[in-house]
Symmetry: C2
Amino acid sequence: MKNDLLIRCAKGEQVERVPVWLMRQAGRILPEYRAVRAKFPNFVEFVKQSEAAAEVTVQPVDILGVDAAIIFSDILVIPEAMGLPYTMVEKKGPVFSSTIQNAADVERLQIPIPEEKLGYVLEAIQLTKQALADRVPLIGFAGAPFTIFCYMVEGSGSKTFSKAKKMLYQAPALAHQLLQKITDSTIHYLKAQIGAGADLIQVFDSWAGILSPQSYATFALPYIKQICEAIDEVPKTVFAKGAYFAREAFGKMACDVVGLDWTMNPQESRKLVGTQKVLQGNLDPCALYADFKDIEQQTVQMLEAFGGQKHIANLGHGVYPDIQPDHVKCFVETVQSFEIADRFPASTN
Amino acid sequence: MKNDLLIRCAKGEQVERVPVWLMRQAGRILPEYRAVRAKFPNFVEFVKQSEAAAEVTVQPVDILGVDAAIIFSDILVIPEAMGLPYTMVEKKGPVFSSTIQNAADVERLQIPIPEEKLGYVLEAIQLTKQALADRVPLIGFAGAPFTIFCYMVEGSGSKTFSKAKKMLYQAPALAHQLLQKITDSTIHYLKAQIGAGADLIQVFDSWAGILSPQSYATFALPYIKQICEAIDEVPKTVFAKGAYFAREAFGKMACDVVGLDWTMNPQESRKLVGTQKVLQGNLDPCALYADFKDIEQQTVQMLEAFGGQKHIANLGHGVYPDIQPDHVKCFVETVQSFEIADRFPASTN
């Protein structure tokens, strides 16, 4: 591979510079994405177009010069493959026509064979790998079980996910059954993504921050742990947005990279996670609204806080759709021109 | 005052049992509230009915037996009084017809004289004090300047408040001007509430958690500090939801009580805040969906974690509207029957 910086860094190897990519880099920030997307007005159908998905996956590598591609898809393909179809409603987000409320509902859910139900993602990965021609690694991903659980029980996005959390308090055994079924499906799915060519996988726990530390330890961590322990073919990243209280636990988990959101102090996070893992993140996504000089300054400040090694630069959340591409490019180029040998001589000898 | 437990506790005095109230206790959880509310379909107008506001403020004292009343109102009365009217849209939340975008917009905003523009709140406080007849203290409140800023610039609720945060990065001087004007208005408003009879005031920074620690230190903390330093007539509580990274800073601020959301570990928070302040919180609001036995168990566990003294029991967020009143009552009664002299003998001698 021509640029395998991300993989070497994720494995804990010493690197010559900090690798960089952005969550949601394949998406609405790029006019080139919007041009492809315009051909498929229905988002759920768009995700199933393997060729289009591969095309928009490669765009940020060509246009922004990032050090990795991440397959264009959605975390909700898993509930759909398990038997819960969804639609994407403008300005509202995902909506499920039926939700999981009782034991019979959980029973009815399938643990899908990825090749049968999610072949379009695997094909998109294969097409992307061909198009990338070993320029940069390809990241595969899935939602963490608790986040998928939230959507399957709540039936849509929510500020509090109180319907989903209600099940944790009223029917914890049922919640565990559902979480286990999602976990099993996710492990098969991630293994299939690796089989199709994914070079690293990331698990997104987008709604981690709505749980108390105790609930997170009971209903979220054990399932992420299962996923991490089941997969050893490629490096693994866990990103649990808002779960500042779980950083120590992630430090002890069988993952390689721990993603940080923008509220998490890099030095404090290093202390909590320990010295072994790689940290990923964590510029405030809104920092990219600033002018070039300020973006550069804040990016350098972030790079210095992480200390040069065992760091994958990223935002602390997905890039917001109204950020100008040249502002994203400024962020990427600032990371790529940051000389760690000069700034942290001890870290590169 | 017959039951001044909350005030004595907030002042740091040793108490015979833990005081308890709930954020949003005057609201949709009570059928008695919904009956009053039905007479005023327009929420913004409802808030201005002093008699009705006083009536629903007293309801939870009568029905739930809480140790304090909190005046029924909305944090958005301040932007309205400053010159930005809002409407409340069902399932969407507040919407402002105009927002603050530039220096002229900030210039046009007034620093309202509370007696002129917010007399209906002051009258509601006076009516409530009469109706309470010194049974329990009355809490007054306001939004923290950054949270009010969010609504004034964004124009509505938002998952990310990216439009509001954009101003922090693109026009920080303008943001500071706006924040200062909100702060000045808020200080006058809180002093007027105290003049009308509020026995304690609470500042709600509902959107604290969307800022990086650095932005929070720049754009939020200095203004909360000004408010705390300007008010010394009654005890002051600061509740910054999601700002786990600011607990040490609140420990050094001129406030009496620090509110904790349900992600914040009580013992860890005590270490960060220090031994002087009172802590308030912090049961997961969803815990009240559980059955009585579980509510009791989780409430006792929380009470034990806080250690009996310098603690005001509450949820970690406002009570959710679909919680059954008898579940709230179970929470209140569990706190009120918790014997701190038995459990923590050292704390009461």
